[in-house]
């Protein structure tokens, strides 16, 4: 088991109460371990509730096994915790309809998300799974920005979308996989049509 040093924690002693200076240990699905400050964890509603429910003391954190996050790999989790540490203490946006939804991507976030599209998609999944509202907003905004000024063909490449023909073929294949008889029936129908039959039955 390796320990990742990626989240470098900058703790403001004056601003943070003594009892908040606890660091939790998390483990990704590929067995990479991270130490994350309690304040940074508050950016994730899911993790925050989890640690509250566990009620760990400082000793528990050190002595008990790391909390496993089974759906997220180490590479993605490292980005998530880097983001949380950078934005720790910031207010979590609430979508109550009155708050403007304009999202500007900060410089730190832009650099953090300067990654390949596959990893960016995983980051979005992680932000959604861990319920990190602002990370979800900025990462989705980044994906949306990628569509600007692209032709349909370019969009297919960027987002790995199928063409209409590929889409239809995939649907047919899925149907056939569900019902192997369907293909035979269709072939039989086509054969009868070729022979000039008006009715299938």
């Amino acid at each position: 088991m390796s320990v990742e040093n990626a989240p470098v924690v900058d703790v403001d002693e004056a601003a943070i109460p003594v009892e908040k200076k606890m660091y939790y240990r998390f483990e990704s699905n590929d067995k990479k371990e991270f130490r994350v400050s309690e304040l940074a964890i508050q950016q994730s509603e899911t993790l925050n509730r989890l640690v509250e429910a566990m009620g760990y003391t400082s000793e528990d954190v050190e002595n008990k096994p790391a909390i496993a996050i089974e759906n997220i790999d180490g590479k993605t989790l490292k980005l998530v915790f880097q983001w949380c540490e950078h934005h720790k203490g910031e207010a979590i946006p609430v979508d109550d309809g009155s708050v403007p939804k304009i999202v500007e991507i900060p410089e730190f976030d832009a650099k953090l998300m300067d990654i390949d599209n596959g990893l960016l998609f995983k980051l979005i999944w992680a932000a959604d799974y861990l319920n990190i509202v602002q990370l979800l907003n900025v990462s989705c905004k980044k994906v949306a920005n990628m569509a600007q000024g692209k032709t349909p063909a370019q969009l297919r490449r960027v987002y790995l979308l199928p063409s209409d023909e590929e889409d239809e073929a995939a649907k047919r294949a899925a149907q056939e996989a569900q019902d192997p008889r369907a293909r035979e029936v269709e072939e039989e129908f086509e054969e009868r049509k070729r022979q000039g039959g008006n009715s299938f039955f």
Partner: protein
């Protein structure tokens, strides 16, 4: 760089946020990628509702400032009042499809004012500009919720083909259609695609002196008025002067309307007066504009034999408290008008009330009408208040019958 997973695999919430942040051209292009994406958009409809859509291929300074001759211009207005922060460039979106030597250039433009403009261009190689317009329009209409509030055609030859292709055999639901600088055959081509049940208003206007390079004709809409769409519409307006727009009877059913005839006669006024007297509507209004009226004196004599007024008031025979007003106005703007409207008897002056002409029907007709109404509303008798008309100039036999009827009904007097 290719992804391991597709955008379509994204969970519901992130996908919805991504679509919120995508602008209209991006979504339009995403819709062209595959069936699955179109299905997603149709189900979730992340685009704001379109309230107004219009298109044209004319060069017209009032609509758009287009320098190139062969083009299609599309204007879309989104209903974004509740989500304005997502669309800081405003709710209006303009698209231009330009014919190029080896394809088509599409320009999307969004602007709040002349200084703040956001513009995107894309070149489609070997694409016909009408085809590109037609395909985009089809996609836009496919993902919309209907009915759309307002649909506008600015006319122009050859454009209806693109619209037909986009519409195919679909019937469009809109509350209001406006035609500007369009000929009757163009109007008919578009109108057939609209659902008569949802259509509330039709406006036909002509602002330019020249339509499609031909001097403005004195139009007819006699075919349009035979359509189901026309018969179903309750509001109609047209500023196209014509010697023979359509028979005046075709306008009688309208709740609200204005029409501009080149020339009118006594028959026009007679027909509209009868339509207003026989209607039950309290909000009916109609403006009959005209340039020439050889029968003007005859009309005035018909409306008021004393020739002393420009405003003529009549009681509705079956609703004596409702007054039909016909007002003559000379606007000094080259045209004159008769304005027809309905008002309550309380809203006219005492001298006007005294000078009301006698009701032109017998008492039996009034009683029959009242009895029918009372039978319908028998449960609401307590709330119903019906005023007796003043008895200064009316036919005495008629009014005495009405008064006796009311007395028996409301006060139990014999």
């Amino acid at each position: 760089m290719r992804l391991q997973v597709s955008l379509l695999d994204m969970p519901e919430l992130p996908m919805s946020i991504i679509m919120d942040y995508c602008d209209f051209p991006a979504i339009l292009n995403l819709l062209k990628t595959c069936h699955s994406f179109r299905d997603y958009i149709k189900t979730h409809k992340p685009l704001p509702q379109i309230t107004q859509i219009g298109f044209s291929n004319q060069r017209n300074q009032y609509i758009c400032n287009v320098s190139r001759t062969e083009h299609v211009f599309v204007m879309i207005v989104f209903d974004i009042w509740h989500d304005y922060c997502l669309h800081p460039m405003g709710g209006m979106f303009k698209m231009y499809y330009y014919k190029m030597a080896n394809g088509c250039e599409v320009v999307w433009e969004r602007s709040v004012d002349l200084d703040t403009k956001e513009e995107r261009k894309i070149f489609l190689e070997n694409e016909d500009f009408i085809e590109a317009f037609s395909r985009d329009l089809k996609i836009i209409l496919e993902i919309q919720k209907f009915p759309i509030k307002d649909f506008t055609f600015w006319g122009g030859p050859g454009l209806s083909g693109g619209f037909h292709k986009a519409m195919q055999s679909n019937i469009f639901q809109a509350h209001r259609i406006s035609f500007r600088n369009s000929h009757q055959h163009e109007i008919m081509e578009y109108l057939q695609h609209f659902c008569p049940k949802t259509l509330e208003a039709i406006y036909i206007n002509c602002h330019d002196d020249v339509i499609n390079g031909v001097k403005k004709p004195w139009m007819t809409i006699s075919e349009v008025t035979k359509s189901e769409q026309w018969k179903g519409a309750m509001r109609v307006g047209m500023t196209i002067p014509g010697p023979y727009l359509a028979p005046i009877e075709d306008f009688g059913h309208l709740e609200k309307g204005y029409v501009n005839y080149r020339r009118i006669g006594l028959e026009h006024v007679k027909v509209m007066k009868e339509a207003f007297l026989s209607s039950n509507s309290l909000t009916k209004s109609f403006c009959l504009m005209f340039y020439e009226c050889p029968d003007q004196e005859e009309i005035k004599r018909f409306l008021d034999p004393t020739l002393q007024k420009d405003r003529y008031l009549y009681r509705r025979p079956h609703h004596p408290c409702q007054i039909v007003s016909i007002q003559f106005m000379d606007t000094n703007g080259g045209y004159k008008q008769f304005e027809f409207s309905v008002m309550d008897i309380k809203n006219i002056t005492e001298p006007e009330r005294r000078s009301l002409p006698p009701i032109e029907v017998d008492a039996n007709r009034i009683l029959r009408g009242l009895m029918e109404e009372l039978e319908d509303d028998s449960g609401k008798l307590e709330e119903k208040k019906i005023e007796t008309p003043p008895s200064t100039t009316e036919n005495p036999s008629c009014l005495s019958s009405v008064n006796r009827f009311f007395s028996r009904l409301f006060y139990g007097k014999q």
